[in-house]
Assembly symmetry: C2
Homo-oligomer: 424 residues x 2
């Protein structure tokens, strides 16, 4: 029965039971962590063959000595791998160093100080970014570092609320960009629908000059089910409506091979790649092509097989979270959560005003969760109800134990709040 | 006999002989390249053991799984390697990704937009940088990309002309930084004297707030002779006079292991490293620690032995250049060149106004040289006399052939110029 429909006596009985269980859990010295989207050691083991895979042959099939300087667009074979991962033509892709976040910084730096699809943003005051929420905290930190104002737009099951996005872009010429994690979105796990992708591709038609879509396709191949969910090709759709220069796409092997030790990709129109290469040439003589060659040899042509092995390790953890939350919370009317078909995160929504309290309760019971608010710009979730769960790094047993504690904390915090509300 | 002292008849005879030889060389379809400071394949072969050196063990002696995110200061073992290369305490060093040029960009970005040792430079107009010339073209390109004005200061055999540097810093508060390649300077090959290092370390005492010394110690261990030349510790000397926050140091293994596939280092005071780590955290979750671990395993404790093997490959090429220039140009009074004890470059000075002409002549004869002017900000050598030679990448035979052609072109251009001057 829904907590909200319990009478006060039943609520207080429930509170007493939960408080007793919480006290017992707190005494059991748990130390569990669901904070960050890191691959588990067993996932990393899947790529241990990377080191040594070259067997002394450092020359690419295309004839480039990977050990020397040059080739700012990356090895052809690494660009082909990017094409396989991102579903784009290789000539639209630059294969780069280990961090797509660094590429995002460099692209925003280029748009802000030098201009990408239009004049530089630096002259504008203020510059504004649309941030679908819940979203990825590192996008927000990066954006804030440029002094750019962030405007929240709610996520739906099919992507950002596009009516709101279009209205913002049309009404305010200071709006210069939107952040998107279009497949298995961080943290909700939703996949943008074809309609949403199409509307995003045409945003520049409504926006002021220099508008950019930052398309962080971090989980492009991180599927749990096969055949996997399909994401529409935003670059092709943008090019079809004359906006090819207004979309920049990002990808990475950080959660395919080694986290921080892989290679990354940036993609866009020919004009965008020319401008990015010119910017890169200021700060770089060439990417680490040795690691690009390793990745091309290791992954080229077998990305899906590799990701199936990841799925076998990751899916059970997501299923465990869902199973335990269902068993503990079904029918109580106090929480909703996502059931992604891929990616790295689950988003959970408490009743309003309880997320920070649940995270605190869990922390005191030995279960570390991502700080409440981290899913929103400036660390402020206006409804204080969003919690991001990252089940990949912990072992399956730890995920189960942590989720049991989380469910308990949600029940305890919710019962207390509902009981307190009866008095007001 | 010096060309300037030949009578017109002798000069014209010389010109005729040289023109005949030049014509013969031009017909011989040479294709030689002394343009860039790239390691030769045999040098790269010295590090072929890097790939595979981990033998499946990705955990550092310090207990860090190199395959996962984190550790923005780098693996402790990689910082120790930086200490061995740069002669600094490991705790003053961040071990980073493959490119020290990227670190330089990030440091200048930090100083310019956010402030490092003082307020950000962005409010100042104009911001000025002191560029000892001849210098490194990529420093100039990077500096120019921020809209910073570059002021030339001549190099001497012991480093920049410090009287000029100090006068500039004292007289103009817009001067915010100086670029230094202190050991085997690019391109002269000189090593800054202890007196010069001391005066640079104390520059901030004379300069406006936020002044920075960018100390690009790219050739710290790239010696041809052992025991090698010793460079004074600028950071210790700066700290001794209260200027520790005003010096940032850079290093890299790009010309130790793989060019663009190694690891890089940035070093400075504790306050500087805190600020840089905060900046890096905006754009990066962690460096490629797998490659850091490879480098620590491969090079740790044996840097000098490895560099001796490089020296055995590189020294003969430098000696060949010097030998051929001596044999061809001694006593003619038309060129001077450096005889570095390490590094990657030789600088050659023609009589004024001839560098571009010599580079053109050589190019038409099939010998590509770094464009004249590249050693100076904005690509403008005001005396048009500086030519940078990069003898490492070509084979010894190619270096010999290219230097013969170069010497011929210098003689031909000089004889023509001196002859023409007789008529005016």
């Amino acid at each position: 029965m829904q907590y909200a429909q319990l009478d006060i006596a039943d609520l207080e009985r429930e509170m007493a039971t939960l408080a007793q269980r919480y006290s017992a859990v707190s005494d059991s010295n748990l130390s569990l962590d669901l904070t960050r989207g890191k691959p588990a050691p067993e996932q990393l083991d899947l790529s241990n063959a990377l080191d040594g895979i070259l067997e002394g042959d450092y020359v690419s099939p295309s004839g480039i000595d990977a050990r020397n300087y040059g080739d700012l667009r990356g090895l052809p074979e690494a660009r082909e791998l990017g094409a396989e991962i991102l579903g784009l033509p290789a000539e639209r892709i630059i294969a780069a160093g280990p961090s797509s976040l660094t590429l995002m910084y460099q692209v925003m730096d280029a748009a802000y100080h030098y201009g990408l699809s239009g004049p530089s943003w630096a002259g504008e005051a203020p510059v504004k970014a649309i941030c679908p929420v819940p979203g990825y905290d590192r996008h927000f930190t990066l954006t804030e570092s440029f002094g750019i104002e962030m405007t929240n737009v709610p996520m739906t099951a099919s992507g950002p609320d596009m009516d709101r996005v279009e209205a913002l872009v049309e009404s305010d010429p200071c709006v210069k960009c939107i952040w998107c994690v279009p497949k298995y979105s961080n943290p909700s796990g939703c996949v943008y629908s074809p309609e949403t992708v199409g509307r995003i591709a045409s945003l520049a038609n409504r926006a002021s000059a220099g508008f950019m879509v930052f398309w962080d396709n971090a989980y492009a191949v991180h599927d749990f089910e096969f055949p996997p969910a399909v994401l529409d090709d935003v670059l092709a759709r943008a090019e079809a409506c004359g906006n090819g220069d207004n979309v920049v796409l990002f990808g990475s092997t950080s959660k395919i091979t080694f986290a921080g030790g892989g290679i990354s990709f940036v993609a866009g129109s020919p004009a965008t790649l020319d401008k990015l290469e010119a910017r890169l040439s200021v700060m770089l003589i060439g990417h680490d092509k040795v690691n690009q060659l390793r990745h091309a040899r290791f992954l080229g042509g077998r990305v899906e097989a590799h990701m199936r092995a990841h799925a076998d390790l990751v899916r059970p953890k997501f299923e465990a979270v869902d199973r335990i939350l269902h068993a503990s919370l079904d029918g109580l009317g106090i929480a909703e959560w996502s059931r992604p078909r891929g990616g790295y995160f689950i988003v959970l929504e408490t009743i309003p005003g309880l997320a920070a309290e649940v995270v605190n309760l869990a922390g005191r019971a030995g279960v570390r969760l991502t700080p409440a608010g981290a899913t929103h710009p400036y660390g402020r979730d206006p409804d204080d109800r969003t919690i991001r769960l990252a089940p990949t790094f912990a072992s399956l047993g730890e995920v189960e134990a942590a989720t049991e504690v989380l469910a308990l904390c949600i029940r305890l915090a919710s019962a207390r709040r509902i009981r307190a509300d009866r008095d007001t």
